[in-house]
Symmetry: C2
Subunit: 259 residues, 2 copies
């Protein structure tokens, strides 16, 4: 196994950080690695917000499902899908008049533009994660940035066509900390050859066998198996309902309306 | 610079592949690296379709904006956001009856579930890209897999809650091939500190300075600058309109309806 594969397999989600800032040299290497990432048509349809202000970190630790460790990360990076810059550039260069003149329509970004920009943002984020890990800087993805869209828009000063799709907490690993790797599903349930294949109940049983070991018979959900417990914990959770609401509100901006 | 950073910066989008298959050892290392990627709540909300069948590759080279090189890639990996497996698992474990009994609602996956699963899929894809590069296997992302949703659903046998969010062409680099790195925007236009900041026209001019060197005064769009040319080429293009349509159709499946 080469150094790259070792770094990839060694990486764990780090939620406890050494009590020192990330050096400027390391931070620059991490950001440069993110910016080197593949991007659709070399458009770089994303923005990275680098956050160190304790007040903002505190606010994010609350708005992202009340996870206090977020506020203790030396640096937070938010990767936002961004079609605003290209749109503003078009606007500044008379594209609206040109489009009208040429019989084209001048359209606002739409759902497909959002997805494409999310791809750019996430690919860059994972480059940052791997680069960071190679420098001794651990990371943790926070999906909860998908919640509370209106609050984050205000907090971070986001424009309409800037959508925060993922967040990374970054900080050095503590010395001699134990790394616990989480087991993934077996490859046969993740990789299919040639075509998708709906799994049979027997296959699903094997797929979830390890997870089911985590089922607690006496649980306050009244669940009789792991699936029921997980569903209750997920559906009932405020964060999940909030995420659904928040994403739906955000999506409304990406309507491709004629301008 | 360490080996990981070197691999990240060395990587280019590879569209011309050496004429030999990817070894099984290398393919397994690439897939294992993808599966090791971070995933929301360790749910692995994605599926990787590994495609080697020449007929399928041919079909994809046409459906993904007629790019013949796609058919010549030894291996194609499609990363699909996948909430189907968890949903089927819930269904097989009596979650619907349990939910009714407990006063919860049993809901289909919705837009937020799609986005979260897209995150998993893209993060895994970028792990595959970096792992591949470290083994001499080049890659090219194909965003056009977002187009022709219905056709791809049929071609690949996708279930309703499986959405192909990105595609990778993979193959060995040819010996002594020249690598041309594409220049990205300057960091000041990608990374913002603490808050988002709408760029001024003067900043946009500087941001796009290099791209504007690619403007051809005599162009059949009648465009007077790079912005107008790029917009005309993008808006007018069939692939762009198709992508917008296709994504909108796919999104309709993710409606969170009560079941």
């Amino acid at each position: 196994m080469n150094a790259v594969l070792e770094t990839i397999h060694n990486r764990v989600s780090l939620r406890k950080y050494a009590d020192r800032p990330i050096s400027e040299t390391h931070m620059n290497l991490i950001l440069d690695a993110a910016i080197a990432a593949p991007t659709a048509g070399n458009q770089c349809l994303y923005t990275i917000l680098m956050i160190k202000d304790p007040k903002t970190k505190e606010a994010l630790s609350e708005s992202c499902d009340f996870q206090p460790f977020i506020a203790r990360a030396p640096v937070i990076l938010i990767f936002a899908a961004d079609q605003q810059k290209w749109f503003d550039y078009f606007s500044s260069k008379g594209v609206k008049a040109f489009a009208k003149h040429s019989g084209l329509s001048f359209e606002a970004p739409q759902e497909s533009d959002l997805l494409l920009a999310c791809e750019d943002a996430l690919i860059a984020a994972q480059n940052a994660v791997i680069a960071a890990e190679s420098l001794g800087v651990g990371s943790c993805y926070i999906g909860d940035i998908l919640e509370n869209y209106e609050f984050h828009k205000e907090l971070l000063g986001l424009e309409d066509w800037v959508f925060p799709v993922c967040m990374l907490c970054l900080g050095y690993h503590e010395e001699n900390a134990v790394r616990v790797q989480q087991k993934r599903f077996d490859r046969e349930f993740i990789v299919f050859e040639e075509k998708y294949r709906k799994l049979t109940n027997e296959e699903l049983d094997r797929m979830f066998e390890d997870k089911e070991k985590g089922f607690v018979e006496k649980n306050h959900y009244g669940a009789e198996n792991f699936a029921q417990m997980f569903y209750a914990r997920k559906t009932d959770a405020a964060f999940s309902k909030e995420m659904a609401r928040s994403v739906r509100v955000a999506l409304k901006k990406w309507d491709g309306r004629r301008l």
